[in-house]
Subunit: 347 residues, 4 copies
Amino acid sequence: VNDLLSDNSAGLCPEALAALTAEAAGPADAYGADDATARATARIRDLLGADVEVFFVATGTAANTLTMAALTDRWETLLCEEYAHLAVDESTGPEILGGGTRVVTVPCEGHKLTPDALRARDATIPRGVHHPAPGVVTVSNASEHGEVYTPDELAALGTTAHELGYRFHVDGARFANAVAALGCDPRELTTHLDALTFGGAKNGLALGEAIVLFPGDHQARAAARVPHLRKATGHLLSKHRFLTAPFAAALTDGAWLRHAGHANTLARKLSDGLAAVGLPPRFPTDANMVFVSLPDHVADGLRGRGWRFHMPGHPDWRMARFVTSFDTDPALIDRLVADAGDVAQAR
Amino acid sequence: VNDLLSDNSAGLCPEALAALTAEAAGPADAYGADDATARATARIRDLLGADVEVFFVATGTAANTLTMAALTDRWETLLCEEYAHLAVDESTGPEILGGGTRVVTVPCEGHKLTPDALRARDATIPRGVHHPAPGVVTVSNASEHGEVYTPDELAALGTTAHELGYRFHVDGARFANAVAALGCDPRELTTHLDALTFGGAKNGLALGEAIVLFPGDHQARAAARVPHLRKATGHLLSKHRFLTAPFAAALTDGAWLRHAGHANTLARKLSDGLAAVGLPPRFPTDANMVFVSLPDHVADGLRGRGWRFHMPGHPDWRMARFVTSFDTDPALIDRLVADAGDVAQAR
Amino acid sequence: VNDLLSDNSAGLCPEALAALTAEAAGPADAYGADDATARATARIRDLLGADVEVFFVATGTAANTLTMAALTDRWETLLCEEYAHLAVDESTGPEILGGGTRVVTVPCEGHKLTPDALRARDATIPRGVHHPAPGVVTVSNASEHGEVYTPDELAALGTTAHELGYRFHVDGARFANAVAALGCDPRELTTHLDALTFGGAKNGLALGEAIVLFPGDHQARAAARVPHLRKATGHLLSKHRFLTAPFAAALTDGAWLRHAGHANTLARKLSDGLAAVGLPPRFPTDANMVFVSLPDHVADGLRGRGWRFHMPGHPDWRMARFVTSFDTDPALIDRLVADAGDVAQAR
Amino acid sequence: VNDLLSDNSAGLCPEALAALTAEAAGPADAYGADDATARATARIRDLLGADVEVFFVATGTAANTLTMAALTDRWETLLCEEYAHLAVDESTGPEILGGGTRVVTVPCEGHKLTPDALRARDATIPRGVHHPAPGVVTVSNASEHGEVYTPDELAALGTTAHELGYRFHVDGARFANAVAALGCDPRELTTHLDALTFGGAKNGLALGEAIVLFPGDHQARAAARVPHLRKATGHLLSKHRFLTAPFAAALTDGAWLRHAGHANTLARKLSDGLAAVGLPPRFPTDANMVFVSLPDHVADGLRGRGWRFHMPGHPDWRMARFVTSFDTDPALIDRLVADAGDVAQAR
């Protein structure tokens, strides 16, 4: 099927299915006191540091909003890119789970957040009890528009956030794609973080995200709060091993990076192909998403040929989003480029 | 392993695993717009009525608390048995997800709630803006202590609840066990309900509960609210088919009732066996749980032989809970009864 | 008028009116940065200790619920007498302002809470993330039924609360009546407290309660939270001096104790009078409220003669509440006793 | 004193003090069942229509946030000017009292909101359960920068808001100033409103704002919700008459408009005077506030002469705010203009 709607549309990677099958028989302690959860936690500590605290939940919205709730008080803000998933795609989750969190967006025209933009936005919010107080700065890496923040960019943002009195969080629903894109040690992307949402579902799991809390001023309090908040919001899965065993499996032997790398490679292939037929990407294609401003006849033409893709973002942009995943077939990309070339010339 | 801790400790039934395997490859629309979700919804409508509204979530706490949130205003009450899962085992989930719901427990000494007890408790809460207003009456069927409410009992409770201005909900984390125990049409257990939590995880799924809303005064409003609340609390799973395909499979060809019936049969076998060695059940063994007041030397003796079980409820009761599940081995029950007989006489 | 409905029905004491008049002209800094607020704070520190933190709000519900919100996390409990104002008369305020607080009532048959009852109730709530965690124990002094907790009783309750992991709060909507009743130094009633709601409205102010936070493990955090919570819930009055100047005035030269003492004296006079005509008080008349179980013909007879009183509490008790206040006329009490005698004999 | 900090710094108007004095003696029913509340309600109905619903609270933040809470569901938005009091000066009140409301600001450079700006901002928020849903559009009249929305402007905004699926609210903390400025019938400013916060405190009361709900699709539901929400958030004053009697008095014989007109006149006088010394207003001086961009030496010079004023808004603007009130002395304005002229030339 001609489907590049989302990495949420993709299936289950072989490692995840094998892990589910292996766990199917027999009892295991509920609520996370099981071996699979211990393994998944250990794998994340191998990757990100022995001193991180790790909690698993089913959805990215849960991971993000619970992390915000754990890191903030009810009168504090969440500062983020204007297109952040937390601001756009999680309904009023930050407010409800945070018990009041104010969501403050920073204009960024779809691009990455900068320390200057962060400072400028913060400067418009006076301090004092009359005003929402500094809470968390969060960016998505890879970003919602498929760009990847480098270690230096994250360090600068984290430093700025901390100077201004905020904690610093990365929404890593596509963290694997960011790491694969940069080819770096994952720890290089977390040096200044208080928390990371480490995504699984968009990279071949059925479900599952990890809340990772890093050492520092805020870890102890947040780590004490997440378990209560996770339970009290219905996010503590009873048969926890079916959440964590696939996660552990995907983190073994580099499977997670192979899957993300595959998706990234095909996104780049698509981006290059579309550019060659006169449809250059709207943003750098760092990760597994290609954004292209499509004239109406091209968008309609592609839909007429059965292609499925999302039209997000600012209404003026006429922008299509194509997302690749761990199991995208290279031949599908070839066909899409060919079809795009056809319909673009057809006018 | 000598594990009768919980039906949350059990694994994955064959139908669920097969369904996950079948869904693993290829794309499907996210967030519930997929065939598996349509099938699961249709199966529940086959069982409970073409006019029910159905929503799926991962956990029982999510199903219960979102249903409460959908059925109440923020100044209303949740009336339940003093041992209800919603009151005891979901932290402050009803309050947080409901945005303020007051939890009011009705003394019941571990037994089923009665219309008289309900009326008496309600009478202590004055009407008017100073006081929490009537919200939802909820009972668990099977109950937290393994008893099963009959159709007549539920009809009487529902009628009373409605007369007093409450909606009526059943927490059916073990609804399958209740239906299997009574051998009735499931609809006989839902005649007076506004909402049902239809459980999957305790009956052989990896995860998954259905929120079922019944026709009546409250269905339209609640059905309009659940989708927003489910998303805004992080409970809308993206790769929805991995939640719903196993559910659909378990509801096909009566698998769900076979599994629950097996668990019930073994609980009865255990209950009878324990009674025969002088350890009669504290409550009628209607479903898949056996509660026994164990003298300390018996509890310690069983633990010494490797048996695992839960000690819930009122501290004075010294009560052990043994839970059977879809995959409990009859030989395990025989061994437990033999061991219990040994240690009980050993003093 | 024959009105003994409530000390909320009474007017404004002379000291309060004089203070309002004196503040009427000219500007003063808003939001509490004014002289009157400084004076009121200083007066409370004179009474309760130089190291208490003090915040003013308009209503008792605000004072109580904000204090709970400041002292608890969202997954914690509020343990109180089953007839506590916080549990019965503040709608779902504790839950909404606390962002999730569970209200847990302790059976007490209308009488004062005891350490044993507290321990017994706490023992029914298991520890761990599945369950609401220990938050605040609160009692009303004077109690909702007009009894007064002694220093020893409060010390025992506070010690028990702290041992069990709770903070300890007194709802002092009628704190003045308690102090006047005991004739003690107010500090004797606050030795084991983390927080006190120090009431003004029921003792002759138009409005106004003080949140008082005592030194100890919880003061710093709560004192940092109250200002944000007070503002974010709309409880920070802009023209603060009109809230605090009357409070300061009433706390000067013992006016607050004279007013409360007057009310107490007349309640005792009423209690003795009613007992003499065969209507003994249901609870000891320690403060400014008299509770009497009235046969229907007596209640109806008194209403027929124009008497107004409240009928609270358990529906089986047929209990009338008569409340005296700073401006109750002794002649009114004489007339009520005479009328009660008449109608009681009239059958 | 040289104080033009705020109309929150002003005192009590004579009508309000007289009303408090008149109510001081004797009992009255609590919680709004008193004559003064009936009179205040009747006066507002005289002004705004017999079919409006009216509720009184102590603070503007309470009035605004409770109205938002009553008019929205927990997954809905509040759209407002980027400088709206609700967005800037009420901490996270809209989120906390609304149980999750998303605050969305519309860029307006300090000026009045327009239908086009409203449409453009709304267009960036997709519809569907993933995104916050349309809730309330609110503007302040007079605006936070002292401009007044005309009846035509409000009608256009209200029509647009309703077309887009929002309710329409006016924050009338300075409603009296808007009416006085336009010299119109108050009803001309409420034709398209679902709700109005009718301010009292900034116009000479000690405290007090009215929540006014207008006939239409949303009145019945909101009017049923406000009483519960008001109580459950601690905003139902017990001795209600001391809140409402001054309100009723100020609304009698046009006192409220005389007071607001006086303040407006002096603001205009100040605005003209400052313009004449080279300090033109940054926004039209429609109501009782004058905003001027002050060079540092002027701001410092005025402060050096004892003048007190607020420096709000965007940090780049260097903008001072001078606010007049019901009791501002014309001689004070003369002195301020003279001093401003002096220090402006002094460089």
